[in-house]
Symmetry: C2
Subunit: 346 residues, 2 copies
DNA sequence: AAATTTCACTGAACCGTATCAGCGCCCTCT
DNA sequence: AGAGGGCGCTGATACGGTTCAGTGAAATTT
């Protein structure tokens, strides 16, 4: 019992294959009566278009690609990607477009994957995440001519379409908020230094700190893991003039930082304020709940997917800003306390 | 500048398309000299097999499917899936097989996706996760004839190949450990009651508790979110004879539970022991670090993928056990204390 | 009424690969 | 020397769709 083809339908309907193709694709060229008859037969015998045959005839592959380039063990930790994916999915489902996913260890492999996918006609386009400064993927994808949407600042996206959110503006919001609370020594536990958004945040951090009277500010770069977040925090809190507030680049490090503070008998928020980034369920589960920069990540994914689908369908280029982030104060931030080092027990 | 095809190679090599096909696929039928020449030309002009054409000619689709059926907002929370995916990927990469991912809201949609993927020839098989009791997907996939590997107990997998780990044995390990520490009132904050592994754990929990002298034991079912984990914990800890130990079905709920305990001024572990499940980075980041059931999830994914690839390649059926889980004691469990309700401050 | 257009449909070509039957050719065996 | 067999290759066909040029009949225009 083979899978039915349009030839089977044509035979049963007593028409040609061509007519069946027109009928099933809503093309003009058949009468409404014939169309209905053909549709009914297709339905009855359970016909489905063979994707391979369809894309062989020059049509879409009906799939887009997403490559994640982080070591496997770090991926699970960050809710970010899973949320992004579910957002992308939501948009794709409507167009019955599939998502091809691959996890790779480095950019070289990632580029090879794009080459293969595009060469094999497996995808119609791709979403590039984790944009780096001078990202090597950009020129390659440009040269391939593969439609692509980059999530990150347009300055690094070359001629590719970018969707981004204004990281600098949010950083300003965060620092001015902390400054207003009286914090004058603020540290930042940042993510991978190679990432473009890390650099943008770094710059904005330094600039706004200087402007807002945050006299002492420093940045520690990490690999986003809780472990490194904890270590950075321990070091910061052990220094002679320890910060009264720390801004983390993701949730897991913020939670790790909170634990370290508690371990060191520093009360959060009275003795140390903590701000997380890319707010997830995690931030709300710990005590105190974390003040965090929050962003609708699924919506970002959906926005990127939508932009890519439009780019594929109609060649519509042009970068535009996606859902923006904002600071959501919760219990982990408070006015800067007096400078004391004794332990505080509630 | 079109993508090169085997016809281009044939022209340049002065042979027929057939010869080129044999050469490139390592089939007999061409001399080694010709093969080498053809390979060199293919390399030179950057030829890649067109996936669509290849699978149209009856070959593989070179992709397997994975459908995740949980509400989008819960997905990000659980590191589980992302780790599973990276494990699967690791195995697939070696066979240059792709992963098609889809996130759906319910089983009905999930089944429709399998129908479509298989009908369209988009995948060669699929990995089914989150096996339910009387899972409606199993008979459908069986009938479709799509190769599939189910992650879950064989009792629910019908004739499909299952890869599983012995949940009951681990539950025994956990409960006997707690019993040995003197705990006599143990609660379990479980996941979705419909999932097969939830039922298996439920049963094992009740059975082993009874055997080990854990006189009071109860189960609360949740949806795996931190929120419900917190609520369940609050209720358990407010009851008249509150448990001295709680076993959670995932990490995020365990962390939420820990926070609730701290909020209620119960010391962990001296007044309340906490055990998590599916140990992730999260467990190690909080204070005290969580005692947890740990399992190499990427390895589970790799194992499932490998089993599926074998099933596709050689029809090799037969369920077998995957990487097993074990209890990893950390700081959140301790001997059951005296029964006191006053707050404990270190 | 003749000319033209529109409509509904047919038949064939085409996409890029895999595969099969067949065909010389050379080598080996008797 | 003739039969037999394997090697190396060719040419054709299949896979399941899409698409385009063409065709006969009906409808519309002139």
């Amino acid at each position: 019992m083979k899978r039915p083809t349009i030839a089977d339908i044509a035979r049963r309907a007593g028409v040609s294959k061509g007519a069946v193709s027109y009928a099933l694709n809503g093309q003009p060229g058949v009468s409404e009566a014939t169309r209905a008859r053909i549709m009914a037969i297709a339905q009855e015998i359970g016909w489905r278009p063979n994707l391979a045959a369809r894309s062989l005839s020059g049509a879409r592959a009906d799939a887009i690609g997403l490559v994640l380039c982080r070591p496997a063990r770090f991926l699970g930790v960050e809710p970010f990607f899973m949320e992004l994916i579910s957002g992308i999915e939501g948009e794709l489902a409507a167009s019955s477009c599939a998502l091809m996913l691959q996890v790779v260890p480095d950019h070289e492999t990632e580029i090879a994957v794009y080459r293969r996918w595009w060469g094999e006609g497996r995808v119609d386009g791709a979403i590039l995440v984790d944009l780096h400064a001078d990202d090597p993927r950009v020129p390659v994808v440009e040269r391939l001519g593969m439609p692509a949407v980059v999530t990150g600042h347009p300055s690094g996206a070359g001629s590719l379409t970018a969707v981004w959110s204004d990281e600098a503006a949010v950083m300003r919001e965060v620092i001015e908020y902390l400054a207003a609370l009286g914090h004058r020594r603020v540290a930042r536990v940042a993510g991978l230094p190679g990432l473009l958004h890390t650099r943008i945040r770094d710059e904005a951090f330094a600039e706004v700190c200087a402007e807002s009277g945050v006299s002492e500010h420093q940045v520690v770069h990490t690999d986003y893991t809780g472990e490194q977040g904890a270590r950075a925090t321990r070091r910061l809190l052990s220094s002679r003039s320890r910060p009264t507030a720390i801004v983390y680049d993701n949730d897991i490090m913020a939670v790790a930082g909170l634990s370290v503070a508690q371990e060191m008998r520093l009360d959060v928020p009275s003795e140390l304020s903590i701000v997380g980034w890319d707010d997830s369920a995690l931030s709300q589960v710990v005590r105190p709940a974390l003040t965090a920069v929050t962003r609708d990540i699924p919506a970002c994914g959906a926005h990127a997917a939508q932009t890519l689908l439009r780019l594929i369908a109609s060649g519509e280029r042009g970068s535009h800003e996606g859902p923006s982030a904002r600071l959501l104060p919760r219990g982990s931030t408070a006015p800067a306390g007096r400078d004391r080092t004794v332990s505080h027990v509630p």
